[in-house]
């Protein structure tokens, strides 16, 4: 069930991609987005440990320890790709040269604050490149299951964990709904996935949001087999 939710999220997130975009995908769920890039859309993937033009995973037996992504998964490089050092990598990221980033999260709130690097006293991951990515990428997508494993909401009024970025989230994509943030309106509910109602979303979402006049119900399914 959980992995199915991740696939649903990745598939919907991939439909946000536009031809020619340069993107960075976070570790875990966001990496799955690369498997669902719609046909006719060509994106260039940067990985912050030092490569751009990331291609498909190598065939079994062809892995190379010097060719991996930021999650240590083996990669290949597409023609035109290149390798670079970390200072150069973050010149790309911080310098506004990436069109979009997709990151997972522990919490996100109605002001667009993101918290995804520490649960104080319990889980210590560190922010890695996430703080730079949410600051520098032109569009910041949070891709996450709608609720935590214990069923509690992850889309909150106010993040309770230390922040990764303040007011940086532009789009939230879960297996149940898609919200987009506008400067004047805050988060707007634009799509509700098939199997859920507006009331279902309201019941599992703590952050306040408005419902778009053009909200799309029974969404997510129409281009499933593109």
């Amino acid at each position: 069930m959980a992995s199915n939710a991740k696939e649903i999220i990745a598939r919907r997130a991939a439909r946000e991609l536009k031809d020619g975009q340069i993107i960075n995908l976070g570790i875990g769920l966001p990496t799955l987005i690369a498997n669902h890039v719609p046909s006719g859309v060509d994106v260039i993937i940067q990985t912050e440990n030092g490569a751009i033009g990331v291609g498909p995973a190598p065939a079994p037996g062809c892995e190379d320890r010097d060719r991996a992504n930021a999650g240590n998964q083996p990669i290949t490089l597409n023609p035109g790709g290149s390798y670079f050092d970390s200072a150069t990598s973050f010149a790309m990221i911080r310098g506004g040269h990436l069109d979009a980033t997709f990151l997972g999260t522990l919490q996100v709130d109605e002001e667009g604050n993101i918290a995804n690097w520490i649960v104080p006293g319990k889980m210590l991951a560190g922010m890695g490149g996430a703080m730079d990515l949410v600051t520098g990428a032109k569009v910041v997508h949070i891709v996450t299951e709608h609720c935590a494993k214990d069923g509690s909401p992850k889309l909150l009024k106010r993040c309770t964990y230390p922040l990764t970025g303040a007011r940086e989230c532009d789009v939230i994509i879960t297996e149940r709904a898609l919200f987009r943030r506008y400067p004047d309106k805050g988060f707007v509910l634009e799509e509700v996935a098939r199997g859920y109602t507006l009331a279902d979303i309201a019941a599992c979402t703590e952050m306040s949001y408005t419902v778009s006049d053009n909200v799309k119900l029974d969404a997510y399914g129409d281009e499933e087999e593109s």
Binding site: D64, L124, A130, P162
Partner: protein
């Protein structure tokens, strides 16, 4: 003729003393200088402060030095791939300062480039800004980050010559380039050692001016083993 910086592992590492600050290249195993870290494990040193992107990968790398109690403080961006480090921090055995990855790379680069500090928008409104000065320029808030100078840097390269010109391979380049710039004494372990003039100058990533000592990487850790024609390195 540029000087020959090839020395024994023991001689190079003898520059490390208790209480020193050390920058380490690598990225969760990619390009980690494991030959140097393994030697450090055998040394009687403590109270080290380490600046590195992470703590290694799983149970390998700087995490081993932490488990030995040699490390007083770790300044890193990500320790999620070394659970033992999170445990050491939560148990109060290790001081940990989280730094955004791009900020850490730039701290090293600037420290090596003679720049006292820099302004970054990364981390404004988060703990990364705590205790730091905020400067507003053209309407945007930036954190003033002091640059980094350390006593020693430990890095790894795919190819090196006897003067310390270095070429990395794939994504193993990462933090080795900025780490090599910010230290008083830079030790590079190289998988494949060449003589002067045998590396293509167009391909050098770290010019030898930044490097103080060159040692051979443990053959077991080499990703791609070449058969260099060392003509003037006494190895």
């Amino acid at each position: 003729m540029p000087s020959n910086k090839v020395v024994s592992l023991a001689e190079a590492m003898s520059h490390i003393r208790s209480g020193m600050s050390i920058a380490i290249g690598g990225f969760i195993g990619q390009g980690d200088p494991l030959t140097l870290i393994d030697y450090l494990k055998t040394m009687d040193v403590s109270d080290l402060t380490i600046y590195e992107n992470d703590g290694g990968y799983r149970d390998r790398g700087t995490v081993e030095l932490v488990e030995q109690g040699k490390v007083k403080k770790l300044v890193a961006s990500h320790v999620g791939t070394t659970p033992a480090i999170g445990k050491a921090v939560n148990e109060g055995r290790l001081e940990f300062e989280p730094v955004p990855q791009g900020t850490l790379a730039e701290m090293m680069r600037c420290g090596g480039a003679g720049i006292g500090g820099f302004l970054t928008p990364t981390g404004v409104g988060t703990v990364a800004a705590e205790g730091k000065q905020i400067i507003t320029l053209n309407g945007r808030d930036y954190i003033l980050v002091p640059s980094l100078r350390v006593d020693v840097a430990l890095i790894r390269a795919h190819r090196g010559d006897t003067w310390g010109n270095l070429i990395y391979r794939g994504t193993s380049r990462n933090f080795s380039v900025p780490a090599a710039m910010c230290a008083d004494y830079v030790i590079a372990e190289v998988e494949n050692l060449y003589g002067i003039g045998e590396l293509d100058p167009e391909e050098v990533h770290t010019p030898g001016i930044f490097v103080d000592a060159v040692v051979r990487a443990n053959i077991g850790y080499c990703v791609v083993r070449e058969e260099p024609i060392v003509t003037n390195g006494k190895v």
